[in-house]
Symmetry: C2
Subunit: 378 residues, 2 copies
């Protein structure tokens, strides 16, 4: 990137992206599972197309806006991974009407009743996955709860297809070792297989048995009984994943390009033009053994510069300083110098930008736009 | 808002916005100063127009993209409040060429030399404010530093106009009482007047003497020697400002509309469809006496619901629970219920959305778009 490039902006290394995708593909190859990547991290057509070898495979989305966008681009098999709310039924029905194989998620009787009522007045054949709680992270029904069968029966009576069960081991992000991640992967698999069995014992077919998170997907040893795996951040990786030991810092495919605008010599600070608007307010490494502030500072080749991190962020100002308090490396960076900041959380940092400035083998390749927002675009 | 409205989305109460603007106007009326509001909080033409009684007054921007947008809309007097980097000189020159009265900011000799070199090869008359550090917050030169005169002389020799001095009492956000805010306001005013005097003693005219932050602007008692005041978040206010005592919780003009999608009865959790993508990762109240999590939960009329706050946020999931651990109020909220979440930080939360769903007197008024991004739009 020439110095004339206005900063801040979001960089994506396509070669590293491809290596990260290849790693996930090879990791899952020995298992008899479908891969259903989550597009919420990148929200980008060009990235999503690279996730599949030929064709447009099944995807997971975090918003119906993503579903609209990717369906229009030819992706038909779509799982909307957030518990459905009544004010989204009509939107989901439109997608089904257009031909999308959209699957919804829910975890309670109220939602099931509301959807059943809506479905009874609709021409569309809704399909639902019941959300299972494998680790106490947020949503979901315990895998041994009779409630699973109650909900499935209620839906079936109303003509809503129970397509299967899904879970997400979100607490694997708080692991302290690969062994802990492996234990989360076992819990995730065991819980979903237990829930599927409960429903099968009650006479349901349960064709979809879905698990996923980047840590558990990369460190699973057994997916017996699981039909598909979801993961999203693996394509980019980030400092939280590096802190978990899931990847190395050099595997991170996205970074924020920024420029030095000044110094505070007495404090050993470098001031740059990437604040939280460019980096996000995510502080995901704060609870890890190594707190990376608002991101690790690299040179243009992607090598960390000394032990510099972004220690504070205002809207359009970042403050860089040395972790060990040594001001020399920081103060040697002249005004106008360009740096790359590795993100704590690739999903959050990428969401602060309208798209990716993509490079391959050090050459600029182009600009890949992202989508944003939720419901109807206004 | 009818239940059919897809959530999450960003609400703006225009009547409250107008009251907040009126308060700032009345607070500054007794002083002989120009008001130069910061548009970075809202980034919205309709909001900016309401900041002025007739006409399009002087504004402060945080990006050159904002400068482009507001200049195209008729705002000509623009201060870009972030230290200028060499890779933005050409963009600034284009704005000057188009007729903008754009003022730049810098705080060091390197930036001054680089700008002087560029200006010598340019047809444009650059104008600069020297940034002064009044509280150790981030950027700026100490108000008594001979460096101020050195930089001013260097710029003047190169034909760059030294338009004045500016400072921002950013550390006033960490105050614990109104008395502390008043002390920050005094420091801010005293520092900038001292810096202006230093330059005047060296023969400079210093027509612009600029201060500003929402807390100090609202609690200043003396602006003698100051020519203009900047502030941004006052138009919306937020929980950080309420925690400081600068406003009341009911003065907050923006909120995120969200819908209940489920519960975890054993934990007393309500799960909603606003996660950090809709709320932002900002945790500005974490360091205040009352930590508001990811936001205070209100009903559709804007009244807080019990002592509920958003205690955790994933990308598209928010977890709501009671501050005191009482699960009853939370668990009584049915699936499909809509709630309003007041933001920790209005700048950060608003930045997660493409625009505002605006209401007046409880009626829907329309949609006001925001702008985003930095340099050239791609």
């Amino acid at each position: 990137m020439p110095i004339e490039t206005e900063t801040p902006l979001l960089l994506l290394d396509r070669d590293q992206l491809d290596r990260n995708i290849q790693r996930m593909r090879e990791t899952l190859a020995p298992f008899n599972v479908t891969f259903r990547p989550h597009v919420k991290t990148h929200k980008c057509l060009e990235v999503t197309e690279r996730l599949f070898v030929g064709g447009k495979g099944p995807i997971t989305v975090s918003t119906l806006r993503e579903a609209d966008f990717f369906f229009a681009a030819g992706f038909t098999d779509i799982l909307y991974g957030v518990g459905i709310a009544p004010n989204k039924f009509a939107h989901a029905a439109r997608l089904l009407e257009q031909g999308a194989e959209l699957k919804l998620v829910l975890d309670n009787l109220e939602s099931a009743r509301l959807l059943a009522d809506f479905a009874a007045r609709s021409d569309q054949a809704f399909g639902v996955l019941l959300e299972v709680d494998c680790d106490g992270h947020r949503s979901g029904i315990p895998p041994n709860a009779p409630l699973l069968v109650e909900i499935a029966q209620l839906l079936q009576r109303s003509g809503v297809k129970v397509s299967g069960v899904m879970t997400h081991a979100g607490n694997s992000y708080d692991s302290r070792s690969i062994e802990e991640i492996e234990a989360f992967a076992r819990r995730e698999r065991d819980a979903i297989v237990q829930a599927a069995q409960l429903l099968r014992n009650a006479g349901f077919e349960v064709p979809m048995v879905s698990v996923g998170s980047t840590p558990t997907a990369l460190f699973t040893h057994d997916l017996t009984g699981v039909t598909e795996v979801r993961a999203g951040v693996f394509a980019f990786f980030d400092l939280v994943m590096a802190g978990l030991g899931v990847c190395q810092v050099q595997d991170i495919a996205v970074s924020v390009l920024t420029t030095v605008i000044g110094h505070q010599p007495d404090k050993g600070w470098v001031i740059v033009d990437a604040g939280w608007m460019a980096l996000s307010r995510d502080r995901g490494t704060a609870k890890q053994p190594v707190d990376q502030g608002y991101g690790v500072v690299c040179d243009l080749s992607g090598q960390p510069v000394g032990d510099l991190i972004v220690t504070a962020a205002n809207q359009e100002h970042g403050i860089i300083s040395s972790r060990s308090g040594n001001p020399e490396v920081a103060l040697a960076l002249p005004v106008g110098a360009q740096l790359r900041i590795l993100p704590n959380h690739a999903c959050a940092t990428s969401a602060q930008h309208a798209g990716y400035h993509v490079s391959t083998e050090g050459r600029r390749l182009g600009y890949w736009p992202r989508i944003a927002g939720w419901g109807i675009s206004l």
